[in-house]
C-alpha cells in the first residue's frame, strides 16, 4: 500500500486578510478575530492524494505543525477523506521559521515512517516562502519537484509529473519516495460533505510534542530558526487625482513628465 503524507497548515482566513494588522513595535501579526482555515494550496495537496486513492491502494496521513487549535483543520482533512491525522504541537515549536518548520515536519514524517510520497502546498498564504517543501525534502534526503500542476501516478514505476516554469512547464519522471509541492492548477479541491464529516468520527488525530519526536529543543521553534525578521510593514495603497491643465501638447508633455517622475516610464 502506498503511504502518502500531506503537510497542511492552519492559516488566518485569506478572505479576511484585510483585518490582519502588523504590530509596528514587535513586528508580529495581529490576527484579531480572523478565523484559522486550511491553507488554500494545501487543499490542492490533499485533493491530489485523494484522487490517487481512487485508483490505487493508498493510506493518507495528514501532518500539521501548529497550536492545539490547529486540530480542527486536521479534523477537516479527515472529513475530506484522509485516513489519519498527526498534529505536531508543543510550546517549543512556536515561532518557527520555514527552516525549523521543515525540520519539525521532516521529523514527523520520519516518525510516522516509510512515506512514499509527501505532498505540500507550494506555499502558505501567510508565510509564502515556498521553502518548507524543498527544505523538508533535503532533510529527508528525497527528490523534490516544486510547483506541480499535473501528476500521472504509476503503481510500480516512476511517476510522471508536470511542473510549472515561468514561461512554460517541465515534464519529469520521478522515482518514489519523493516530495511534491503543488499549485492550484493541479486540481479543484472537493468541498466538505456531511457523510465525510460523519466518517471522520472514527478517525484519530495523534498529537506529538518535542519529546515524542525526540528532537533537540535547539533545532525547533524560534531557537532553531536562522531567519531574523528585521522589518515588516503594511503597504498603504493611496490614490491621488490631479488634473492637468493646458493645451493638448502641454498636457501630453506634462503627463509624460509626471509618469517619469513616479517611475512608470
Amino acid at each position: 500500500m502506498l503511504k502518502i503524507v500531506v503537510c497542511v497548515k492552519a492559516v488566518p482566513d485569506p478572505k479576511a486578510a484585510g483585518n490582519i494588522k502588523i504590530d509596528p513595535q514587535t513586528k508580529t501579526l495581529l490576527r484579531g478575530n480572523v478565523p484559522m482555515v486550511l491553507n488554500p494550496l494545501d487543499k490542492n495537496a490533499l485533493e491530489a492524494a485523494l484522487q490517487i486513492k481512487t485508483g490505487m491502494e493508498v493510506h493518507i496521513t495528514v501532518l500539521s505543525m501548529g497550536p492545539p487549535e490547529a486540530a480542527s483543520i486536521v479534523k477537516e482533512c479527515l472529513a475530506l477523506g484522509a485516513d489519519r491525522g498527526i498534529l505536531l504541537s508543543d510550546r517549543g515549536f512556536g515561532g518557527a521559521d520555514a527552516f525549523a518548520t521543515a525540520y519539525t515536519l521532516a521529523m514527523g514524517v520520519q516518525k510516522n515512517g516509510d512515506a512514499d510520497v509527501v505532498f505540500c502546498g507550494m506555499a502558505s498564504s501567510d508565510g509564502a516562502t515556498e521553502w518548507v517543501g524543498p527544505e523538508m525534502a533535503t532533510m529527508l534526503d528525497m527528490p523534490v519537484v516544486t510547483m506541480v500542476r499535473e501528476i500521472i501516478p504509476h503503481a510500480d514505476e516512476a511517476w510522471e509529473v508536470k511542473s510549472a516554469l515561468e514561461n512554460g512547464y517541465r515534464r519529469m519522471r520521478v522515482r518514489l519516495p519523493a516530495v511534491f509541492t503543488v499549485t492550484r492548477d493541479l486540481n479543484s479541491p472537493r468541498t466538505l460533505s456531511f457523510s465525510g464529516i460523519i466518517k471522520a468520527r472514527k478517525k484519530t488525530i495523534t498529537e506529538w510534542g518535542l519529546d515524542d519526536l525526540g528532537v533537540s529543543a535547539e533545532r525547533v521553534g524560534l531557537k532553531g530558526s536562522p531567519t531574523i525578521v528585521t522589518e515588516m510593514r503594511t503597504v498603504e495603497n493611496t490614490r491621488k487625482v490631479e488634473f492637468i491643465e493646458g493645451t493638448r501638447e502641454e498636457k501630453a508633455e506634462q503627463l509624460v513628465q509626471k509618469l517619469v517622475e513616479v517611475g512608470v516610464l
Binding site: S72, K75, E76, A79, T191, L192, S193, F194, S195, G196, I197, I198, R201
Partner: protein, 378 residues
C-alpha cells in the same frame, strides 16, 4: 448550565453546507429565477451532497442526524437560495411520516431511495376547501375489500410535479371524522400532477396540484392506524414542516442582513457610506436582533426535538417569529437599497418576493397564533 454552543462537528456541518450552497447552488440561482422551474442540476447536487438523507436513520441509508443539523443545512442553503431550501425542507416533510409511522416494509421500500435522491418526496394535505382547516378537505376514500379507493384533488403542494413518493391525506366518505394517511408512489395508477403554479417568489421550487381518480391503494400503504391519519400529517407538519420553515426563514434573514451591510458600506451619500447614517444603522440593528432571537428560538426547538421531546409548540413560536422577521428584514433590505432595491439585478428584490411566500407555507401566522394561544392557555 445551558450550553448555547454548537459542537465542533456541527460547526463543520455548517461549513460544509455553506461551501456546498455557494459552489453548487449559487451558480444556478439566475437560471431558476428566469425559468421558475426546478433545476435538475440542483436536485442532483442535493442528492450527491447527502442533503436528502440528513434525518433518515443510517440503517436505511441516511445520515441519521438530527433536527439541529437539518436546521443548519437549511439555513445555509436558504441564505443562497430560498427556493432550494423550501424544496429540500419539503422532501423531509414527505420523508418524516414514513420514518415515524411507516411499517418496516414501507421504510425498507422507500427510505433508501429517498436518502439518495432516487426518490423525491412531499406531503399533500391542502385543498381548495381546507388549508388552515385541514378537516375541510374533500378528498375521500371508500373501501373495496382490503383496498382503499381515493378521489379528490390537492392544491399548493410543494414538489407536486417532481415527487414520486407522496404522503396524502383523505377523509372517509361515510365517516366524517375518520381520516387516513397513505403513501403513494409512481407505480400506482390513478393519480397525476396537474396544474403548476407561478409563484411571486421561491422561483425554482415547484408548487402545484395533484388529482386522484379511482386511486387504488393497498392496506400496506397506510401510515398510522386506519382513521388516525390527520394526526400523522399534522405531526409531520408541526415538527418537520414548521421546523423547516424556520431554517428557510433564518437563511433569508441572514442574506438580507449581509446584502444590507454590503450595500450600506458601498453607497456613498453626503461624502460618506450610508452605513454612517443612524436610520440605516437602526434597520441593520433590527435585522440583527431578529436574526439572533430567531436563532435562539429555532435551535432551542430543534434541541428539544433532538433530545427526544416534541417541539411543535416551540416550533410554532419560532416559525411565527422567523417568517415574520424575514418579511420585515426583506422590506428593510429593499428600503436600504433605495431605488436600486426595485431593480432586479439586486438580490434584495428576490429576497422580498421570496419572503412573501414564507408566510402561508406550513401554516399562516394567524394559525401559529392560534396554536401558541392554545399552548399558553393550556
Amino acid at each position: 448550565m445551558i450550553d448555547f454552543t454548537f459542537t465542533e462537528e456541527q460547526e463543520m456541518f455548517r461549513k460544509a453546507a455553506r461551501e456546498f450552497a455557494e459552489t453548487m447552488i449559487m451558480p444556478k440561482v439566475a437560471e431558476m429565477e428566469k425559468t421558475g422551474d426546478v433545476s435538475q442540476d440542483v436536485v442532483k447536487a442535493l442528492a450527491e451532497a447527502d442533503m436528502m438523507g440528513i434525518t433518515i436513520p443510517e440503517e436505511y441509508g441516511g445520515l441519521g442526524l438530527g433536527y439541529t443539523e437539518r436546521l443548519i443545512a437549511l439555513e445555509e442553503i436558504s441564505r443562497v437560495s430560498v427556493a432550494t431550501a423550501m424544496m429540500l425542507q419539503v422532501f423531509a416533510l414527505g420523508i418524516e411520516p414514513i420514518i415515524k409511522f411507516g411499517s418496516e416494509e414501507t421504510k425498507k421500500k422507500y427510505l433508501p431511495g429517498l436518502a439518495t435522491g432516487k426518490r423525491l418526496a412531499t406531503t399533500a394535505v391542502t385543498e381548495a376547501t381546507g388549508g388552515s382547516d385541514p378537516t375541510g378537505i374533500k378528498s375521500s376514500y371508500t373501501k373495496d375489500g382490503e383496498d382503499f379507493i381515493v378521489n379528490g384533488r390537492k392544491c399548493f403542494i410543494t414538489n407536486s410535479h417532481i415527487a414520486d413518493t407522496i404522503t396524502i391525506l383523505a377523509k372517509a366518505e361515510d365517516t366524517p371524522k375518520a381520516f387516513c394517511a397513505f403513501v403513494i408512489d409512481e407505480n400506482m395508477p390513478g393519480w397525476k400532477a396537474t396544474h403548476k403554479e407561478h409563484k411571486v417568489g421561491m422561483r425554482g421550487c415547484n408548487t402545484g396540484e395533484l388529482s386522484f381518480e379511482g386511486l387504488r391503494i393497498g392496506k400496506a400503504q397506510l401510515l398510522g392506524a386506519e382513521g388516525k391519519g390527520l394526526g400523522v400529517t399534522m405531526a409531520a407538519i408541526g415538527d418537520v414542516g414548521r421546523g423547516g420553515m424556520v431554517g428557510t426563514a433564518l437563511g433569508l434573514q441572514a442574506a438580507c442582513l449581509e446584502e444590507s451591510i454590503k450595500f450600506a458600506g458601498q453607497r456613498i451619500l453626503y461624502g460618506k457610506p450610508i452605513s454612517f447614517l443612524q436610520s440605516i444603522q437602526n434597520k441593520i440593528a433590527e435585522m440583527k436582533i431578529d436574526l439572533e432571537a430567531g436563532k435562539l428560538l429555532g435551535y432551542r426547538a430543534a434541541a428539544i426535538q433532538d433530545a427526544g421531546g416534541r417541539s411543535s409548540n416551540e416550533f410554532a413560536v419560532a416559525k411565527y417569529y422567523t417568517t415574520e422577521a424575514a418579511q420585515k428584514a426583506a422590506k428593510m433590505a429593499v428600503d436600504i437599497h433605495g431605488g436600486y432595491g426595485c431593480m432586479e439585478e439586486y438580490p434584495v428584490t428576490r429576497f422580498w418576493r421570496d419572503a412573501a411566500v414564507l408566510g402561508p407555507s406550513a401554516g399562516t401566522s394567524d394559525i401559529m397564533k392560534v396554536i401558541i394561544a392554545r399552548w399558553a392557555m393550556s
